[in-house]
């Protein structure tokens, strides 16, 4: 179980070593100490290993993650798990702006709050936030599920495509073309499925969530909606 101290080992060496791992590697659990807010820690991983980071991370932690499990025992800076392809990223603390930005698959779990633009342009990633999300979350969100236990800030889902947003708390305001939609059994099942994958074991009731999604009025330009563009 390799343990790497980033006060001693240069970040570039750590990332290079992680990139050299093959899917059959025996080094399946890595521990990183003293991240001290450095950027791009454990970015570009592409094997099914676990990387545990003891402390707060800077921007783009686990960026473009594929197959790996990354656990941040602290807070995460801008763009955690940005463009994630698959795998699991778990932030024990809070996440800064653009968490899960343009993510295409996998699961991002944030135990604290996520800041503005959570799930911006998401393309299939699932995101679970135990706390609240900030303004412009799910901006232009194309696909995937965003599940928020707390509240959402202004302009939720502005210009949204087909992503599904589930919020248990209040929504300060909805963005262009984003409306509340009917919660049906399939949506409750979807919430349950995402939460189970995220490690929740029935503590949270899908019935308590409201669903938000696209009104689909911006799909073809219509002069009567010109103000929304």
């Amino acid at each position: 179980m390799p343990e790497v101290d980033l006060d001693v080992t240069p970040l570039r060496e750590l990332n290079a070593a992680l990139h050299r791992l093959t899917p059959e590697t025996n080094e399946r659990h890595w521990v990183i100490d003293h991240p001290a807010g450095r950027h791009a820690i454990a970015s570009g991983l592409n094997v099914p290993i676990t990387v545990e980071i003891n402390g707060p991370v800077g921007y783009y932690c686990a960026g473009m993650n594929k197959l790996a499990t990354v656990v941040v025992n602290g807070s995460a800076g801008v763009g955690v798990a940005e463009n994630m392809m698959s795998g699991f990223v778990h932030v024990a603390g809070d996440a800064s702006q653009s968490a899960g930005a343009t993510g295409r698959g996998g699961l991002l779990r944030i135990d604290g709050n996520a800041s503005s633009r959570c799930g911006i342009s998401m393309k299939g990633i699932d995101i679970v936030v135990q706390g609240s999300v900030g303004h412009m979350s799910a901006f232009m969100a194309q696909a995937g599920n965003l599940v928020v236990f707390g509240d959402a800030g202004d302009s939720l889902g502005d210009s949204i495509y087909e992503a599904r947003l589930f919020v248990r708390g209040g929504v300060k305001s909805l963005g262009a073309d984003c409306i509340e939609k009917e919660m049906r059994d399939e949506h409750k099942r979807a919430i349950h499925e995402v939460l189970t994958r995220a490690g929740f074991d029935g503590e949270v009731d899908p019935n308590e969530f409201k669903r938000y999604g696209s009104a689909r009025k911006l799909y073809t330009f219509n002069v009567d909606h010109a103000g929304e563009y």
Partner: protein
């Protein structure tokens, strides 16, 4: 008595035929006009510059026997694997989606044959493109359609797109007619809708945060690939300086004549600078930072002949990029299809409604029937021929100026035909010492 003669009917220069038709169109539709291509109106360009050939004080090189080298290294600042191109002409970013698969394949074949690169566009990398291009530059755009680390790793360079000449400050645009099944899948969009695109990147704004983003891309690719930053010509001095400070290996500068697949007409014609006015400030920024030739500069926007290539290099660029010209080489706007152009309400040479996806040449379309008209092998050969001519022309001019490498062309090899061109390119008006607006040392 004879009737009073009438004056000759006179049309307005301000409200000309085109303008009148546009106002009528706007009144009928309620939506801005969208089209492809770059700025069409006349702006100061390379035609206004001339080379000073060999004479009593300068001696030319013989063709063929006396070499005039054309190769260029891109990405030498930080990348472990910089690119070595045989010619200083690359193919600009154009998306699969805006172009047919056959067009992308043609570009790859032609570029590879000549030892240069192609660039992906706002839609991601296709297998065909990676397969057919020996050197492939992968764009990172605000939309991030199709972005993934595997393609990042199999690219030869990464181009972070901040903007392009046709629409500096605008995002991508692809209308429903071109969002086919395949395009929809690559972009994770519903089929047939009009794509709305972001104009800012989702996870960084500003050169200070861009620096961190570049760091991430380098970490993911183990510092191997050159990282380009592409901007539309806007504030070229500052943009270039900031690109250097953000950590770029290469700066790509696109002037207003640079084409787009689709955007608002007003954006194309009224935002951004002609490339002629953008090159010297960009080079000045590099020189002020001691980075000229260390951070390479690629310029684009209206490159048509080897004369344009040579002039861009003489003004200080390391290479040029072609987009529109490459498509024309493949057959875009060819009079061969005049009947089809007439059916579309236009004529060969004027066709720019590429967003409608009905390109008779099979280039800017997703329609399988139309796309089949373009034979990628033939297309590749045509592009290779054209690139070859561009290169030979550049060498001809360079030799006439006594240069054994095209990079040794310099501003002092040029003069201008007009005051505007002299001021913008900072070269003297032909036959004089005068550079408008400059102190004597340039």
């Amino acid at each position: 008595m004879d009737a009073t003669p009438r004056t000759t009917p006179r049309k307005s220069a301000t409200f000309d035929d085109y303008t009148l038709s546009e106002i009528r169109r706007a009144a009928a539709s309620g939506i801005y006009d969208i089209r492809g291509g770059g700025a069409k109106r006349k702006v100061p360009h390379f035609d206004d510059l001339l080379f000073l050939g060999a004479s009593m004080s300068r001696y030319p090189l013989e063709g063929y026997r006396e070499k005039c080298a054309t190769d260029v290294w891109l990405g030498t600042r930080f990348a472990e694997k910089p690119l070595h191109l045989k010619i200083p002409i690359t193919i600009a970013g154009m998306s699969f989606g805006s172009l047919s698969a056959q067009a992308k394949e043609s570009l790859g074949r032609g570029a590879s044959q000549m030892g240069t690169s192609t660039t992906t566009g706002d839609g991601g990398m296709t297998e065909e493109e990676r397969g057919h291009s020996t050197i492939l530059v992968y764009q990172l755009l605000p939309s991030r359609y199709g972005m993934n680390p595997d393609d990042l790793r199999r690219a030869d360079a990464i181009e972070i797109v901040i903007g392009q000449g046709a629409k500096p400050g605008g995002g991508g645009m692809l209308l429903g007619q071109k969002i086919s099944d395949r395009v929809a899948e690559m972009r994770t969009l519903p089929k047939g809708i009009d794509q709305r695109s972001a104009c800012r990147h989702p996870d960084w704004t500003g050169p200070d945060d861009l620096e961190i983003k570049i760091q991430e891309l380098r970490e993911i690719t183990d510092w191997q690939k050159p990282i380009y930053i592409k901007v539309g010509a806007s504030r070229p001095y500052y943009d270039t300086a900031l690109a250097v400070k953000s950590g770029a290996d290469v700066v790509v500068l696109d002037g207003m004549q640079g084409g787009t697949a689709a955007t608002q007409e007003v954006f194309i014609e009224h935002v951004g600078l002609p490339i002629l006015g953008a090159i010297r400030p960009a080079v000045q920024a590099l020189q002020d930072l001691g980075m000229h030739r260390k951070v390479q500069l690629i310029v684009s926007g209206g490159i048509r002949s080897g004369a344009d290539v040579a002039k861009a290099l003489a003004l200080g660029a390391d290479a040029v990029s072609i987009g529109t010209a490459a498509l024309v080489a493949l057959g875009d706007n060819d009079p061969l299809y005049e009947n089809d152009y007439q059916d579309l309400g236009t004529t060969a040479g004027a066709y720019d409604d590429w967003h409608e996806g009905r390109c008779p040449a099979g280039i800017t379309t997703q329609d399988p029937g139309l796309a089949a008209r373009l034979d990628p092998v033939l297309g590749g050969r045509r592009l290779a021929n054209y690139l070859s001519v561009l290169t030979l022309e550049t060498q001809t001019i360079a030799r006439a100026c006594g240069k054994s490498h095209v990079h040794n062309l310099e501003p002092e090899d040029l003069v201008a035909l007009t005051v505007e061109a002299a001021a913008m390119a900072k070269v003297p008006l032909a036959g004089t010492d005068w550079i408008p607006g400059s102190k004597s040392d340039r």
